[in-house]
């Protein structure tokens, strides 16, 4: 016997007790059809005001909330947006999540996270599996994996909408939120020139990354424009981790003559350079100025606080999410974000 069926007519019409109320319950109790309830929920304009209020009263009374799975099935789309990333920087990833959450807070969307391993040979299979299984509304791609064109092609193939965050023109405007890393680094170099530096080292990002390339180009632009010293012992490679920054710092600081300033392509590596300087007894900022990139939390928390380029990730994330879920016109607008230089204590005029 079904629950409630034998409940000798109370005021309540019979309905199962232990499960959430459905659209049918609302329809029955307010004496209208399912479709009308659906219209109320979806704010359909062609609806009598009195009917609407009656149904809304029942909805409030019952505490009815539409079942998202049923909705998703009927609409042939769900309200989940995915975040695919392989970014090793926790603060960066969390800032991004924060921006996305800002954008979807008052909507019915939710954020599904999916870290991946860039180096895995099964990367594309993993992502394909994920997208096929979850059938998301769309996905956001965070650097550096956002630079992977095969991944974007996969999304297209699977009919999954996507937006990439990039440091360069990676895709058409509808699928891209862009920043101007090259120009931002050039500004940072101008700042170092102004302080009086002539010998500036570079800790580059990993090869094959657009962000790394753009930041390096910005460095070279600055070197050329200001007539800085050049040479192989002024450039070291890293892979955006603290450890690689430490190693690169060691290499650059063991050169003779030493650079008076070093630009690191992200804050983590800048922290590594700082670490290397300390190990050698080189005083920062007196004997060495350091400039980073990103302005993640670590930049303000190390000593001395780091001069860095603020990469506006939270607004960018917000824009990316809005582009993904927003209406068509707005989504195809270009989105270009500018980075500011944040001057802190790690950069001063050279002592020599």
């Amino acid at each position: 016997m079904r629950d409630g069926q034998i409940a000798l007519q109370g005021v309540q019409v019979n309905r199962k007790k232990d499960s959430a109320p459905t659209i049918n319950d609302v329809a029955r109790l307010s004496g209208v059809s399912k479709k009308t309830v659906s219209r109320v929920i979806n704010r359909s304009p062609l609806l009598n005001q009195a009917t609407r209020e009656r149904v809304e009263a029942v909805i409030a009374d019952l505490g009815y909330v539409p079942n998202p799975q049923a909705r998703a099935l009927a609409l042939r789309r769900n309200f989940l947006i995915g975040l695919i990333h392989d970014n090793p920087n926790a603060q960066m990833v969390l800032n991004f999540q924060e921006g996305v959450l800002d954008a979807i807070r008052e909507t019915e969307f939710a954020l599904v996270v999916r870290p991946v391993d860039r180096h895995s040979p099964r990367l594309l299979d993993d992502v394909r599996n994920f997208l096929e299984r979850q059938r998301l509304y769309g996905v956001l791609l965070l650097p550096p994996i956002s630079e992977n064109d095969a991944l974007a092609a996969l999304c297209t193939e699977l009919g999954c909408n996507y937006v990439r965050m990039g440091s360069a023109k990676l895709d058409d405007d509808a699928h891209l939120v862009e920043s101007n890393d090259r120009q931002a680094v050039t500004h940072a170099m101008a700042y170092l020139a102004e302080l009086g530096h002539r010998r500036v080292g570079l800790v580059a990002g990993p090869e094959g990354f657009r962000s790394a390339r753009e930041r390096m180009l910005g460095y070279h632009d600055g070197v050329a424009h200001h007539g800085f010293d050049t040479g192989q012992d002024l450039i070291a490679g890293g892979n955006y981790t603290f450890e690689s920054g430490l190693a690169a710092g060691v290499r650059l600081l063991d050169a003779n003559p030493r650079p008076t300033a070093i630009f690191a392509s992200n804050d983590e590596m800048a922290a590594g350079v700082l670490h290397a300087a300390r190990q050698r007894g080189i005083d920062v900022p007196r004997d060495l100025s350091i400039v980073g990139f990103d302005d993640t939390a670590i930049a303000a928390h190390i000593w001395p606080p780091l001069t860095t380029v603020r990469w506006p990730i939270v607004p960018m994330a917000r824009a990316a999410a809005a582009k993904l879920i927003g209406p068509g016109e707005e989504a195809s607008q270009p989105s270009l974000f500018l980075s500011d230089l944040i001057r802190r204590a790690s950069s001063v005029p050279p002592s020599r």
Copy 2:
């Protein structure tokens, strides 16, 4: 006219072109009923081997993947687990996400994140809204919000399964993954005693947090057991942020006599103390030893590298996720994780 209907019989039986294949397509092409296909998908044992292989061939051929929304509707449960947190420490949150992802990687579950604001008066409404809207399979609660009993009660009320991470006995075994912070801090204090410290300061966590309370109790246990100096100028409060650690460090280091060692209730605050010491020209570790808690990335990246208590968040997250999605027996087992002391360069014998 429906797509494909007029396609004068090719080899393909007619099906709509632009949408993913459904269970009906598979059933039609393999000449069996939907139910049989469903049995194949769900690995039902009572099924003829030949039939199974035939259906599987069609599935592979079509690239059929079951629609998760339809499945969720029919099964009355989805495969989304939520992570609710208000933890300001990015590395901590990301490590937690990593642990959860480890546990669900090969399953059909996905992780939905939901940061909340602990101080918002609408906290409970926000969470209620989220849970009602998404109808998750279950949620994981990360400290410090995991210590909020009203939140756990809300989950129970809404019929949403949950697992809390805690530094103490917050809930029954089925809903808890626990760590022994008090004991771990006592060990750290024993280590400082062994080094020869007698005057050890405490940067406490925020009031009302169990983790803060447990860590403070561990400190007091150590002080009492080893006969350390006591006094109000040896204890300062913080709220787990870098800035609060900085302020607390200033307070403790301006005392006279100064502590020779400071235990900070998390790494962020330990970094703040370090910062304060530097501002005052106090050499760490020569003039001051510092011990933190958590062993997040920052601990190894500041200079000097921080001695700290490793809070095993990744395994704990893995266990929490397993408890949430695992079968009943395993879920009700107690889960207690022990923290280790990681000795690094920030702690040495006192110079005075």
